[in-house]
């Protein structure tokens, strides 16, 4: 069970950070435009972080199977392929998750 007080604290912190980011350009437009470093990190980090979140969300399940992480690799490849071609997040997620659930339960 997730502790309610802790969860509320996390939600409040995340809400503040997200709002601050969305509000920043309205209070500090010039500063942002002048700081190449802030911009460069803004370009570098999102792809790195998404890659990390993807890998991290898979390692738990992937390292459990005695036969190797094939279900995870196959399902993620399918999601990437469908998303690359279709640009439809919902379709990609449903197709990939269905394949994964099928492999895990009936494979």
């Amino acid at each position: 069970m997730i502790d309610t007080g802790y969860a509320l604290g996390v939600i409040a912190a995340m809400a503040l950070v997200t709002f601050a980011l969305r509000a920043l350009p309205f209070v500090a437009a010039q500063w942002l435009n002048q700081h190449a470093l802030a911009r460069a990190l803004g370009e570098f980090l999102p792809l790195a972080i998404m890659t990390l979140l993807l890998v991290h969300s898979l390692t738990g399940a992937a390292l459990e199977h005695p036969t190797g992480p094939w279900p995870e690799l196959l399902a993620v490849s399918l999601v990437v392929l469908v998303q690359w071609r279709s640009r439809n997040p919902l379709l990609s997620i449903v197709v990939g998750t269905s394949l994964y659930v099928l492999m895990r339960n009936f494979g």
Partner: protein
């Protein structure tokens, strides 16, 4: 949430309906919000906390990210930092909308709060003559789809005992979708390789803290990478 095209490019009639404009967003937000609510409850959170999160945080990727982090009991500061990084792209949305937002104080700040990827892309496609109230209505409708979906998903999650293994793959699938979209708009593929290397380094060291360690390594690498190519200013 994700940076895909919601509107067919040829749809910009003079007499548009705000409700029609948000329909594609509803079709994305309600199911995705439901997935968030469902996973949140399944991870051990109360249903109303999922609703509060969607109401107050209202940022898809970081809300999904918060589930494993909450379940693992990570320190508040770590989660705040991860939120800062994942949502940093939002900083650049406001710049292009600066002069178009409502003059009214409360409407203006509500819109700033509600600037998700999808709302941003809809707002930028609106005709110049759109009234501030219509812009705010659009933002509020999108917000309510997200909250509605989260509550529905949390309600289902509170009832259901999942019989199927592997449903939590939706989270990985969502991250894969976001990675693809980041990759599509990348200026360099270095961040992806840096992230993979950082994780490969961090995992054997401390599997439980691999995410935090590899995020920190990526930040350091990003700073070094920028310092090595000080041309940051020449890209525009």
């Amino acid at each position: 949430m994700t940076e895909h095209q919601i509107l067919p490019s040829d749809r910009a009639p003079a007499q548009f309906s705000v409700l029609a404009l948000t329909a594609p967003v509803a079709m994305g937000y309600i199911p995705l919000g439901a997935v968030f609510g469902f996973l949140f409850v399944q991870a051990g959170g109360d249903w109303w906390l999922a609703m509060v999160a969607s109401l107050l945080v209202y940022a898809g990727a970081s809300q999904f990210m918060m589930i494993p982090m909450l379940a693992a009991g990570l320190p508040l500061g770590t989660i705040a930092l991860a939120t800062l990084i994942v949502n940093s792209r939002h900083v650049f949305y406001g710049l292009s909308l600066m002069n178009r937002l409502p003059a009214s104080w409360s409407l203006r700040w509500y819109m700033v709060f509600a600037l998700t990827d999808e709302t941003y892309s809809l707002l930028t496609t609106l005709p110049g003559a759109t009234s501030p109230r219509q812009m705010a209505l659009l933002a509020a409708l999108n917000h309510s789809w997200w909250v509605l979906g989260s509550v529905a998903g949390a309600a289902i999650g509170a009832q259901a005992h999942i019989a199927l293994a592997g449903l939590d793959f939706v989270l990985a699938a969502l991250f894969a979708v976001l990675t693809v979209e980041q990759w599509r708009s990348r200026k360099s593929s270095v961040p992806l390789w840096v992230a993979l290397a950082a994780y490969a380094l961090a995992y054997p060291l401390a599997a439980r803290h691999a995410l935090v360690i590899s995020i920190a390594l990526s930040i350091v690498a990003g700073l070094l990478w920028q310092a090595r190519s000080p041309a940051g200013a020449d890209d525009d």
